[in-house]
C-alpha cells in the first residue's frame, strides 16, 4: 500500500512542506518545460567549447596519426588508456545506484538514479571514444569483431582480455542504455501529457505510447528488477575484465591477482565522486534540494569513504606483496613508483584517494556541501592519477635499462582528455534540459511513506514513541532543506 508508514527513526527522503504529487512533477520538470537560466547557458557554452576542442584534437589525431601523441617505443600506452579506464570507472556508480541499491531496497536511490544512469551512459561514450581513437585508424575497429574474413577465416583471439573487453564494454553500454530508457518511459509520458504542439509530438514518439495501466506497471517492475539483477554481476564483470587487460600480462606492477576487486572498488569510488560533483551543482541550480537531501549527500560520502578505504588497503597490499614475493622486478616496479621519477604522480594518487577521503569520518565534513564538492573533485583527480601511475610508471622503465624512457604528453593528448570532459558535460547538460533529471514516478512512491511531511503528521497525531521522535528530530539538524524552527518546541 502506498500509505504504509515507515519507522520514524529513518531520516526522510523528501523534505519540505506541502509536497504533493503535482508539486513533484512541477519541480522536476521546471528545467525541461522552461527556457534554461543563465547558469545553464554558461555551463553549456564552456562545455561545448571543450567538446569542440575534442573534435579538433581527435580530427588532428586521425589526420596525422598517433605519432601526434606523446607515445614512444617504451611507453606505448599512456593517456589514452588512462582516460579510457577513468571514464569506464566513473560510469560504474550509475549502475551501482540503479541496480545494486535497487536489489538492496535502498529507497534513497530513487531520486538520484536517473541522473547517475545518464552519467553512466555519457561516461561510457567518452570511454568508447578512446578505444576508437587509440586505434589511430578508427575503421580498424571492425577487426575486433568475430566476422568471417578472407584470411582463413582468422578469428579474433578469444583468449585475450582485450576481446573480452570489447564484449564487456559494448554489453555494459547497451544494457545501461536499455535500463535507463525503460525507466524513462513513464516520465517521458508525463512530459508528453503536459506538453502542446510539436513538443507533444516529439515526446509522444519518445514515450512509446506509455499509459500507466496496471498490467504495464506490473511488467515494468518485473523488467526493472530483472535488469537490476543482471546488471549487478555485469558491472562487476566489466571492471574485472578492464583490470584483466593489465593483470593477465607479464608486466611487473600489472601482473597481480588483486586487480579485479581493487579496480571494481576504485570504479565505484570514482563514480560516486563524479555523481557527487554533478548532483551538488544540479540540486542547487535546478532547485531540487527537497528531493536530493543532505541524507543523500551524506550516504554518498559514506560510500566514497568506504570504497576509498578499500582502495587504500589494496595499495598497501600491493606494496606488501611486492616485498613478500621477493621478486626483484616486482619490487623495483613499486620502489620506482614511490620514489622514481614519477614519485609526484604516486603521491598525488595516495593523497587524493587514501588520505583526504578519510576526512569523511567527520560528520561536519560529510554534511558540508562545499567541502564535499571539493573532495569529490579531489577524488576524481586522484583516480586519474591512479590509472596514470599503474600504466605509465609500470611501462616507462623497461626490462632493459637502455630502453628506459619518460612520457611527455603533447598538446594533442591534453586536448583529447580535456575535450572528453567537455563532451561529457555537453551531453549531461543537454540531458537535464530535455529529460527529467529525477525519476518522478519513483520519487512519488516515497511521498506517503518516507517524506518529512508524512513523518511530521505521524508525530503530530501522536503515533510515535517520544524517545524515537527526539532521535528523529536530532537527525534532522544536518538537513539544509528542513525548516528547523518547526521542530523547536516539539
Amino acid at each position: 500500500m502506498a500509505s504504509h508508514s515507515e519507522s520514524i527513526i529513518r531520516e526522510p527522503l523528501i523534505t519540505g512542506k506541502d509536497i504533493t504529487y503535482a508539486k513533484i512533477t512541477n519541480d522536476v520538470l521546471r528545467p525541461v518545460e522552461n527556457m534554461p537560466g543563465k547558469a545553464w547557458w554558461i555551463g553549456f557554452s564552456v562545455a561545448s567549447l571543450g567538446a569542440s576542442l575534442w573534435v579538433f584534437a581527435i580530427s588532428w589525431t586521425f589526420w596525422f596519426g598517433l605519432g601526434e601523441w606523446g607515445l614512444n617505443k617504451t611507453v606505448g600506452w599512456a593517456w589514452d588508456i588512462t582516460g579510457f579506464v577513468w571514464w569506464v570507472g566513473i560510469g560504474h556508480a550509475g549502475t551501482l545506484i540503479s541496480a545494486v541499491l535497487l536489489l538492496f531496497r535502498q529507497n534513497w536511490r530513487n531520486s538520484i538514479n536517473r541522473s547517475a544512469e545518464a552519467m553512466t551512459i555519457f561516461a561510457v561514450i567518452c570511454a568508447a571514444t578512446y578505444i576508437a581513437a587509440h586505434m589511430g585508424r578508427p575503421w580498424m575497429a571492425v577487426y575486433s569483431l568475430p566476422l568471417p574474413n578472407q584470411y582463413g577465416s582468422l578469428w579474433v583471439n578469444w583468449n585475450s582480455p582485450l576481446i573480452w573487453d570489447v564484449f564487456a564494454i559494448s554489453t555494459y553500454f547497451s544494457v545501461s542504455l536499455v535500463f535507463w530508457y525503460t525507466g524513462l518511459l513513464p516520465d517521458i509520458a508525463t512530459i508528453r501529457d503536459r506538453a502542446q504542439g510539436i513538443r507533444r509530438r516529439i515526446y509522444s514518439v519518445l514515450s512509446f505510447g506509455w499509459t500507466g495501466s496496471v498490467k504495464t506497471w506490473q511488467r515494468f517492475e518485473t523488467v526493472s528488477l530483472i535488469l537490476a539483477g543482471v546488471s549487478t554481476p555485469l558491472v562487476l564483470s566489466v571492471h574485472t575484465i578492464v583490470s584483466m587487460d593489465f593483470a593477465t600480462s607479464l608486466e611487473p606492477g600489472w601482473h597481480t591477482t588483486i586487480f579485479p576487486p581493487y579496480f571494481v572498488a576504485g570504479a565505484i569510488f570514482s563514480g560516486f565522486a563524479m555523481v557527487q560533483t554533478l548532483l551538488l551543482i544540479a540540486r542547487k541550480v535546478l532547485g531540487l534540494e527537497n528531493y536530493i537531501t543532505m541524507f543523500h549527500i551524506e550516504s554518498m560520502n559514506k560510500i566514497i569513504m568506504l570504497t576509498g578505504s578499500i582502495v587504500g588497503v589494496a595499495y598497501l597490499t600491493e606494496l606488501f606483496i611486492a616485498f613478500y614475493s621477493q621478486n626483484e622486478y616486482e619490487q623495483y616496479a613499486f620502489a620506482n613508483r614511490i620514489a622514481g621519477p614519477y614519485w609526484w604522480a604516486y603521491w598525488s594518487m595516495m593523497t587524493c584517494n587514501v588520505i583526504t577521503p578519510q576526512l569523511f569520518w567527520f560528520k561536519k565534513i560529510r554534511t558540508n556541501i562545499p567541502l564535499s564538492w571539493v573532495l569529490s573533485i579531489v577524488v576524481n583527480i586522484g583516480m586519474w592519477f591512479e590509472r596514470f601511475v599503474i600504466i605509465v610508471t609500470s611501462l616507462h622503465r623497461d626490462f632493459i635499462p637502455s630502453s628506459w624512457a619518460m612520457f611527455y604528453p603533447t598538446w594533442v593528448d591534453v586536448s583529447v582528455f580535456i575535450g572528453s570532459i567537455g563532451v561529457f558535460f555537453t551531453m549531461f547538460l543537454l540531458f537535464i534540459r530535455v529529460l527529467p533529471s529525477v525519476a518522478m514516478a519513483e520519487v512519488k512512491l516515497l511521498l506517503k511513506s518516507s517524506s518529512e511531511q508524512a513523518k511530521k503528521k505521524l508525530m503530530d497525531e501522536g503515533h510515535v514513541v517520544p524517545a524515537e521522535a527526539e532521535f528523529y528530530i536530532a537527525s534532522l539538524e544536518k538537513f539544509d532543506s528542513v525548516e528547523q524552527s518547526e521542530y523547536l518546541k516539539a
Binding site: 564484449f167 505510447g209 506509455w210 496496471v214
Partner: protein, 178 residues
C-alpha cells in the same frame, strides 16, 4: 440511451483509489483498467491480474545468448582454427567464460525488454491510449466500461463515496491528441 462510453473515477490519493476499487468490486461493477502515475502495489491482486511471465522469457533469452556465444567460441577456437599457445588445451573453458557471461546478460536484457515492449504494445510512434491526461502526473484514475447494466449514477455515487475528487462520463474511449 446515454452516449457515455467510459466512466472515470479520478482520485487524488492512491489509498482512496484502492478503497474505490474495493467498493466497486463489492458492488460487482467490473473495472476496465486503472491508470496511475506510479506503480501501486496490490492493485494486480485486487484486479486478479496474473503474475508477469517476463522472468521466464528473460531466463530463456539468457540461456540462448550464452549458448550462442559459447558454441561460437568453441567453433572458432577449437574446431575451425585451433591456435597452439604453448601446447595448452585448445578447449580452454575458463577463457570462454567472460564472453559467454556477457552475452548471457546482453540477451537476457534485450530479449526481456523487447518482449515487454512487444507484449505491452510499446514502440516509438505508438499513439498513446490515454483516458485522462493527468493520469501520468498526479491523478489516479479508475476506468469503468459504461456498457454494463449498472446505472451510471450508482457508479458515480460509489466513486464519490470512496473519495473520488472528480467523476467523468466520457463519450470517447481515449483522449484525442488532435
Amino acid at each position: 440511451m446515454s452516449s457515455t462510453k467510459y466512466i472515470l473515477g479520478v482520485f487524488d490519493d492512491p489509498d482512496d483509489m484502492m478503497h474505490g476499487i474495493d467498493k466497486l468490486q463489492k458492488n460487482s461493477v467490473p473495472i476496465y483498467d486503472v491508470y496511475t502515475p506510479m506503480p501501486i502495489h496490490g492493485i494486480e491482486a485486487k484486479l486478479n491480474i496474473k503474475d508477469s511471465r517476463l522472468g521466464y522469457a528473460a531466463f530463456m533469452f539468457g540461456c540462448l545468448g550464452g549458448t550462442i556465444m559459447f558454441s561460437m567460441v568453441y567453433y572458432m577456437l577449437v574446431h575451425d582454427w585451433p591456435i597452439n599457445i604453448g601446447g595448452k588445451n585448445f578447449f580452454a573453458i575458463p577463457d570462454f567464460i567472460p564472453v559467454t557471461f556477457e552475452w548471457t546478460v546482453l540477451w537476457t536484457s534485450f530479449g526481456m525488454t523487447f518482449t515487454f515492449f512487444f507484449a505491452s504494445h510499446l514502440f516509438p510512434g505508438r499513439a498513446p491510449r490515454v483516458m485522462d491526461l493527468r493520469a501520468t502526473d498526479d491523478k489516479f484514475v479508475i476506468a469503468i466500461n459504461a456498457k454494463g447494466s449498472i446505472p451510471h449514477d450508482d457508479i458515480t455515487n460509489l466513486l464519490k463515496e470512496a473519495g473520488a475528487t472528480e467523476v467523468k462520463h466520457n463519450d470517447r474511449k481515449y483522449v484525442s491528441y488532435e
